[in-house]
Amino acid sequence: MQSTEIAIIGGGPAGMCAAQAAAEQGARVTLIDRGKQLGGQLVKQTHRFFGSEYEYAGIRGIHIANILEDAVRKLDNIEIKIDSTVLAIYGDGVITIEEGENYKKLTSKKTIISTGASEKMLVFTNNDLPGVYGAGAVQTLMNEHGVIPGENVLMIGAGNIGLIVSYQLIQAGVKVAAVIEAAPQFGGYHVHAAKIKRIGVPILTSHTIKEAIGKEFVEGAVICRLDANWKQIAGTEKKLDVDVICLAVGLSPLVELLWHAGCQMKYVPQPGGYVALRDRDLQTTVPGIYIAGDASGVEEASSAMIEGKIAGLSAAEALGYNKNASHMKAKYMEEINILRAGNVGKKVREGLKMLAV
């Protein structure tokens, strides 16, 4: 059995920032990620990031991952475990890990859960056929492993992820037949929409997918229009000859470990589904278990990084480390409030109101 002061589960931007913040206070940290490298979602993002200028906006995601990883690797009180999947957190605080081919156990005084989010599914006929993917899968396959998912894509969802992944597909030499969006307006930023429109990809709003066609794998898709009440309009069906259907219809926080640890959970649509109640320090209702990043509610990388710092500082502070920690925490809280201000942050603020303890 190994032991550590602060275990951090998930080495995306939130987990890496938490590790750095806690270790700089002096705490002994173990940072665990199931991937072959640190970085989470960032390692698949070839575009320049939107977000806060303090959190590297304007830099490509893949490069932000490098910056954060360098900072983490410089601190020798951080132990990094990659290729390590956390399987469970038991009542007695034991964390079990599949590390490579080995089964390991770890105890910690504090635990930060920053496992990110996973794609939502959509209901339509034949949605289980090979060739229907989550947008994240397409990115992983293409940007990490150098393999494209197919030759002609129907993208479902015109939020930022749908628009960005469409552009990435085109960069990789794949044709995008159309991006469809159920809402009357697309949700993503105009810069991303403009990029793919310029290439000639239609963005069809008030449209949905009715069915996937194919016997062994996707060979086409039927789309149709939606009326003002989001009902399918008969007679507007159109068949597209695509071999890939990519779902970018939102994310849900990955919260299995939080359920397992016994944290009080609540269904709140704004942050993406079931999420844990938390206090100002990002501590859940189970003392010593903290949350940060998309796992605490789906948002974006800048807020994931700041939440990571807040959770890391809080956990270190609770262990008695205090190099100006409370002052720094106050600064980060102010920073995140600015990020969540205005119209863009309205949804996030509404969701958070329902989760405070």
């Binding site: 899968a137 396959l141 492993h145 393999v147 016997k215």
Partner: protein, 121 residues
């Protein structure tokens, strides 16, 4: 049941404007008894896609084809039989020389340690 061996053409990216894919060692493995090539250490599914194979298994109840869905080990859509062991998530399992890969039907069959190299000797 007739298996479709090759569903399409290779899906390997040759050139990319931003990302460089380091060249890895080529290894040989078998899929449904047929010899194929892939790169050592890439996820098994990447090597299968590079050989045009997208159907990974058939579901237990309705025998529906199943393929890659999440690519990060979350969903279990990609379970196959690898070296005689069923229920391997091929989106996160690394490809190695001599692997024996089979489409899983239903819950699969445990066949014990298989290797395509031993068979050839």
């Amino acid at each position: 049941m007739d298996f479709v061996l090759f569903d399409g053409k290779s899906l390997r990216i040759i050139e990319h404007p931003i990302i460089q894919f380091p060249i890895k060692r080529e290894v040989t493995f078998t899929f449904e008894g047929k010899k194929l090539k892939g790169y050592e250490g890439e996820p098994i599914v990447a090597a299968l896609y590079a050989n045009g194979i997208k159907v990974l298994r058939y579901s237990p109840k309705d025998h529906r084809p199943r393929g890659l869905f999440c690519a990060v080990g979350n969903c279990s859509s990609c379970l196959m039989e690898v070296n005689g062991e069923p229920n391997v998530r091929v989106c996160v399992e690394e490809l190695k020389e001599c692997m024996v890969i089979k489409r899983q039907v239903g819950k699969g069959t445990f066949r014990g340690g298989e290797s395509s190299c031993k068979v050839q000797k």
